[in-house]
Structures are given as C-alpha cells and as structure tokens.
C-alpha cells in the first residue's frame, strides 16, 4: 500500500498510519498518550538539538535513513557531555512511498533508539507531492552529566583522539549510488558507549565533536576557530580502512573531507591521552581509535604528511557529496 495525500490530513488516515506503524514500533507510555506534547521530568542541565535527514538512497550498506536519524541526533547530544534521554521524530513523506518502507525505517529507528537508550516521545507526519521520497527530522534531549565540554574549551597541549576509521559512511553512500560492489559499510552508530566510558574513567574531556558533513578537516577548523588555537595532526596515524583508501585513490576523494556517521573526536589533556585512548578502544565502535594530533599555539589546522611535509587544511568548500545524511 502506498502513501497518499490523505495520510497527511490529520484525520482518520493519519491516525491509522500512526497506529499501524509509529505506535507499534516506538511504543512507550509517554508517546502512547498522544497529547499535543510529551510531558517529561527533567533535572538540571540538558543538551537540546535537532537534525534533518535527507539521505539518498534510503537504505544503504550498514544502515538506512531511520538509523541515521536516531544516531545523528543521539551523537550531537553526547558531544555536549550528555546522556541521551528523549527523541522526537518528524516525517515528511512524498506521496507514493510504500507503507512497508516506512514500516522498515520505523523498525530501524526503534532498534537504534533502544541501543542508544533514548525514548521516542513525540512525532509528526506530513505528506507532500513527489515520488516516494522520505525526509526525517529528529530533535533530542539529553541530561548533561559532565559540564563544560565545549568546542571553545580546547587548550594547548591537549591530545586529539579520533574514535575510528575515516570516510566509511561517505564511501558507502557513494558506492551505492555508483553501483560499485565492495564490502564498505556505513559507520552509522550511536556513540553513547564511548562517551559514557570516558566520563566513568574520569577523563577530563575538554571538547567532543562528531565528525559528520564536512569531514575531519572542517571539524578541526571549527575547533581552531572557537578555541582560538592551532591544530596539528599527523597523516601517518589517521585510521582509514584499506578498502576506503582504495576507493579514494580511484575516485580522487580525500578522506579528510568525507562524512562519517559514527565517528567522533575527543580532545583531552595530553597527560591523560594514553588512558583515554585505551578507554575509547575498549568501547563499542572505538576499537580503531588513534591519537591523531594535538592542540598547539597559533591558528588553523596543519597536517604533517607521511613525507614529513606540512599541509594546511581548510574547511570544505563546494558541494561535498549531496544528500549524504
């Protein structure tokens, strides 16, 4: 069965869609009340964020738009030193989308939400003309357990830990679009475990940031600018899988500007760097972590190349890969 405009009317058909798919998968005692808003008990400081997802294709190796929509917002919450608690989901669906497709996506959201420990407590559905496309907005709330984690808090001598291989999500989406057969999977994943373990180990985390659109180079420039510092990284230690490296060589892609959906950097005091690295490596999705560089004097981002040259890294200019997330 396909979605038509009446599924967005707010009447009987909208109710059916909500009951048959969203309440079935997202089932919890807050959402099930179907009030105009969810009522939540919150203590103290919270992290609050939003993200829209327009990835194409909707399903790809290693994930789908639903998994992405949960993990993307979960990770933004985590980066502020918070534990994810509540999520909203707004669906904009093009006429002609298969209800079975929406069901699969909702089920995938349920699984990711369960893994991340977040409840989907409010939602909305709209229908527009089109050819079966699906867009999802999520917003999320987390309870801050560690204050002061901030992009403007990096200090000279801090070490930069990258949680794993670069470029997997970008390479997976590109492979799907170009119908290249390989084993590359999107890294799309919730980073709750890495963040929780860093806090539990009393690592004094100065800054965390997930490495998404714009890639590592863009994120490091944001840090340089917000913390008013220089950043130096080492090409030789950047974790990149052989298969992604191969694809980059063939297509002329630069892993430093490629999007990831399950990678983060943590900026920690230099003297805690080794302990922090061990903590990240023992965490789920952190097994390939590396200390990739340091906060230094000056400004901008410099990479020491494998040939011991140095290369200035700017932010991403131009398109990147459209509709990567």
């Amino acid at each position: 069965m396909k979605i038509n405009m009446s599924h967005g009317s707010g009447g009987k058909q909208t109710e059916d869609l909500i009951n048959r798919i969203f309440l079935k998968h997202f089932d919890n005692n807050i959402l099930n009340r179907l009030e105009d808003a969810a009522v939540l008990d919150i203590k103290g400081k919270i992290a609050y964020t939003t993200d829209s997802f327009v990835v194409t294709p909707l399903f790809f190796s290693g994930g789908d738009i639903g998994k992405l929509a949960v993990c993307g917002t979960v990770n933004d919450i985590c980066m502020m030193g918070a534990i994810p608690k509540y999520l909203t989901a707004g669906f904009i669906i093009e006429e002609g989308a298969e209800i079975e497709t929406i069901d699969k996506i909702a089920f995938s959201m349920k699984l990711s939400a369960e893994e991340a420990g977040i409840k989907i407590v409010a939602g909305d559905t709209k229908v527009i003309e089109g050819q079966g496309g699906i867009y999802i907005n999520t917003s999320g709330i987390g309870e801050i357990v560690k204050s002061g984690v901030s992009i403007s808090n990096c200090q000279k001598g801090d070490a930069i830990i990258l949680s794993g291989n670069l470029g997997d999500h970008h390479a997976a989406i590109m492979s799907e679009r170009m119908e290249i057969e390989n084993n590359i999977k999107s890294d799309c994943a919730p980073l709750v475990s890495i963040v929780k373990n860093l806090f539990d180990s009393n690592i004094e985390v100065h800054c965390m940031r997930d490495v998404t659109r714009g890639g590592l180079a863009t994120v490091l420039n944001e840090i340089s600018s917000a913390s008013n510092c220089g950043v130096e990284i080492y090409e030789a230690v950047l974790p990149i899988s052989n298969e992604v490296r191969g694809l980059c060589n063939i297509l002329g892609l630069d892993p430093l500007y490629m999007a990831n959906e399950g990678k983060m950097i943590a900026v920690v005091p230099g003297k805690q760097a080794k302990t922090a690295l061990e903590v990240v490596r023992k965490s789920r999705y952190g097994e390939n972590a590396q200390i990739i560089g340091h906060i230094v004097d000056g400004s901008g981002v410099t990479m020491i190349t494998t040939l011991q040259g140095s290369r200035i890294l700017d932010v991403l200019y131009g398109e990147g890969l459209p509709r990567i997330c």
Copy 2:
C-alpha cells in the same frame, strides 16, 4: 542569489548561510555558541513536541511558513499547561530557493518567537533537489506551570470554550490557491496569552487542544475517545466570520473540518465557564470566544443544529486540504 547543493554540504557555504541569515535573525547567546547541541537549564516538568511544516504557498494572507512553524509548536506546548521556552528549527530547502525568501521567513520566525517569548536555540539546514520549495521542522520545550491538563481529563458537566472564529487559516490558504480575492486572513497566532491568563485567573483547566488539521470535529472526537465521554456542541453559537461562511457556502466546505492555526478549545468546569470565557475574551486573539458546548454522558460528538436537529460528527475522512500547514 539562489540556494544550491553546496549550501547543504556542512562546509563553507553552509556556514555562510547560517551566519548571514539564521544567526542574524535568531541571535541569542545560546544559539550563537554553535555547539553540537544547546545547553539549557531546566527545572521540573517540561512539555516537549515537534511539528513539520510544508504549507504552500510559502506566503499567504495573514502569515507565512515561518510564522506557522513557530506558532504551531508554541501552541502545542501551551496546550499541555506549559509556557514555551526553547525552540529548534530544521530547514529542508530545495535547490533554487531564493536566499531572500529564506531571509524573509527567518525574520518572520524571529518576530513570532519574540511575541511568544520563545528562544530559537538550535538549528539545522539541508538542501535537496527540487524547485525552490522550503520545509521547516520545529521542536519545542516549555516549562509546565499547570499539571494534569490532558486530553483524557475531561469530565461530565465541563464546558467547552472555543477561542475564536473557525476556518480562517483554511479559507485563506484556499483563497490564495484559487486566486479568489477577499479579506480573509489566516488566524496563525501564538496562544500564549490566552493560556497564561487562564492560569493566572485560577481557572481549573481540564484540557486544552489547539484546533488545527482535521478541524474542530476531529479534535472533539479525540477528546471523546481519550476521556471516554460524550461531547455536545451547539451550531448556533459557533463563531464563524461572515466572509468565511460565504466562502464555505460557495465551495461546499464545512467549517467544522477546516484547519485553524490560532484557535484552541479549553475544557473547564461548568461553574467556571463564564469566568473563563471572560478571561479568554480579554486575551489577545480571544475576543470572539464562545462557550460552544459541554462534556456529557455517552460517547461520540453530537451537534445540536440551528434547526434543533442533531448531527453526529465523525473525524475527518479523506484529504482535507493538502499542505495546509
């Protein structure tokens, strides 16, 4: 200047768009930090909701998609007995949209947010292929000042107050699309003042609901179902402007199923009905309020017609007006 795919890359062009438009209009010390998530101080119980907006045309008599995106979420928060505090805004923009158009919409959001007393603290921008369309998701947080306001809380003998004229938003959008010239304006408005005044006057509000997609008949059915009660309303007292009534007669529309964007019902104890009505009428956007009916025994929604007949009102079936909000 027009939006192109690079404005959604997460790199330099995305940053420019954020700086030139969103930070300019939404300017506040939480948003301006540009972290992965906003950090907020919250006390006690909150109301949390989300809504997406796909209205076409983007600008219409009495409002635009930006005003709608703020008011819609503000009103959902208010209906739970909460004062709106924080808003997120997620933009999905089709390639080819004029940057000037986005600027106008953002300015309109700023004005509505100011009126509603809500801060826009986080945002996101994505670009998709298309022909200049714009979709906006907002999510919002309010602090609950009155607990227990709920769609399942209506009791026999309660009076139902409707805050003003039915059908204005629907009639305005339809007039725009059909190029009918008239003076009908969308009622799009934040209902904070009505809700605050009801609380300040110690009215024991049992339930509030804004009357949007699906219209009054659909909302009353939701109440009947959730509170396990009957609802009786009186056609003779339903506030409808002459101009909207005229349009309905010509086009065969039923104001009971037409969408509004600045109307609510408040269900209050019968003995407080008159006082509550006065409070609403003295509030901004409440001057045409009426007591339109009561909660009764039984189930379902019945309207006593002007000819003293009775008509059963079901929920909206079928399309309604597509992309009304």
